[in-house]
Symmetry: C2
Subunit: 281 residues, 2 copies
């Protein structure tokens, strides 16, 4: 199996699923473990500087910017093609205290100790050396600041009803993640990665939360978000690149997701791991 | 493989893991999806009647009783041996508006439309006909009242580090659950069971949450709670009864949990499914 394990300086591949699924994300639903800390930091310093690593289409970054109106947010993404979308999202929200730029989590283009808060969501799950990414995030964080990460644990995904096509889809995505150097069990590994990045266990707070698609509208968003990449997007491209999955099967799997979306008792849920790493003063 | 699939009137077998793990449960950590609804119901009727089905050692029932001080809680459990412990838990908490009694979820000893709220936690996961249990819970619930359930989805359990002995333990517990007529994927099936019990989809609200053991003290509770039943309790007994697992391996698995408890990056998490079923007025 081909490996595109990233090394520092490489351009990480796009995640296997790039879609509308990303734009439902906000700080409230994707960084809840950070928000109490962010609130208490804001009370002592309203001018917080926050870095959102792997900001994608920027919906999380923009909601952070709203939470710290006297602060400043930088969203950074390795993929320059996504930056105009992020800028449009910020403009539509009327948010001014934000900017987006291109860059790799392995070589953040910032001086040491620049940010009060450095955050990433669904980034470490996709890359080969997540501990190097966390070390770099710690580097650009001020002493007394905090690094926060939230990453899915794809192997915990549970889908109902149990349908063979959806099981094959699950395996396909896990195989693409692994072939791309990522970790389908990222969520559970965050503490071990933070330790490897140089943090002490006493600096790290771990929690878990779940993400799910339950209601008809949520299921519709989920199915849309998966069918697009299956039928002609990054997921199909990467599957073919890595020699994973039978091409004829992609349409079968997409149809199974469409059926799932209109099934009255259908749902999908997954565990996410979350860490806060308090940088020592 | 022997099956002790329950039929209405049978005495359900004890869950495979009975231990200190159960006594950390409260309404706050095990019924969070119900609490906003309970609060709004209490505002219009402080004298709520709440039934906690499968109340075990009563810690959840007692915290419900504290939340509705002008209401009344009945905890019911199929296992009469656990009732003195539940009564002691209530006495230690100084809670008076509560009583415990013996009974099966398949044949609740109450008239139709007795309770405002009927709740169960980690009950349906262990029994063979969970839809019959939900139908019975709906029967004893008043029109306009609510049935609430929260059940683990054991197949989503994620444990770090990855240790072969802990993987064997996971499989052993799943096999015991299945052999006993339960469902290791209960969490994801709650809506389908409620539909089978006669509810309409529009009456059902589904959510998911996670349960985890992360900190040293949580890991210690978890390991204690698993090692006891492995070394001489219900888990060992049921494994032997069903011809599952090698007896020599129980001590090996217990030692692996003890090692896990003192491993600095260790954790365990699992998805739980949660439903509220609003009974029509």
């Amino acid at each position: 199996m081909e490996k595109d394990q990233q090394t520092p300086g490489d351009k990480p591949a796009d995640p296997p699923v790039q879609s509308v699924l990303h734009e439902v994300r906000t700080a409230e639903n994707s960084a809840a473990h950070l928000l109490p800390k962010l609130q208490s930091m804001k009370e002592s310093n309203p001018n917080l500087k926050l870095l959102d690593v792997g900001s994608g289409s920027g919906t999380i970054s923009v909601s952070f910017a709203k939470l710290i109106p006297d602060g400043h947010v930088i969203g950074i993404d390795v993929n320059p093609k996504i930056l105009p979308r992020a800028q449009a999202v910020a403009e539509m929200a009327g948010v001014k205290n934000i900017e987006f730029q291109q860059g790799s989590v392995y070589e953040l283009p910032f001086a040491d100790e620049t940010f009060d808060v450095t955050f990433c969501h669904q980034v470490l799950v996709h890359i080969g050396n997540p501990w190097d990414a966390l070390r770099e995030m710690l580097r650009v964080t001020k002493r007394g600041g905090v690094v926060a990460a939230r990453e899915g644990d794809y192997e915990t995904e549970c889908v109902w009803p149990e349908v063979p096509e959806l099981r094959r889809f699950h395996k396909l995505v896990a195989d693409i993640m692994s072939a791309g150097g990522g970790s389908p069990t990222a969520g559970r590994q965050l503490v071990s990665w933070a330790l490897k990045a140089g943090a002490e266990r006493s600096q790290i707070t771990l929690s878990y939360s779940s993400w799910s698609y339950n209601t008809p509208s949520e299921r519709n968003i989920c199915a849309q978000g998966l069918c697009g990449p299956l039928r002609g997007g990054s997921l199909r491209e990467r599957a073919l690149k890595f020699g994973l999955g039978a091409e004829d099967d992609f349409e079968v799997m997409a149809k199974a997701w469409e059926e799932w979306a209109i099934t009255e008792d259908a749902s999908l849920a997954m565990v996410h791991g979350e860490i806060l790493v308090q940088k020592l003063p």
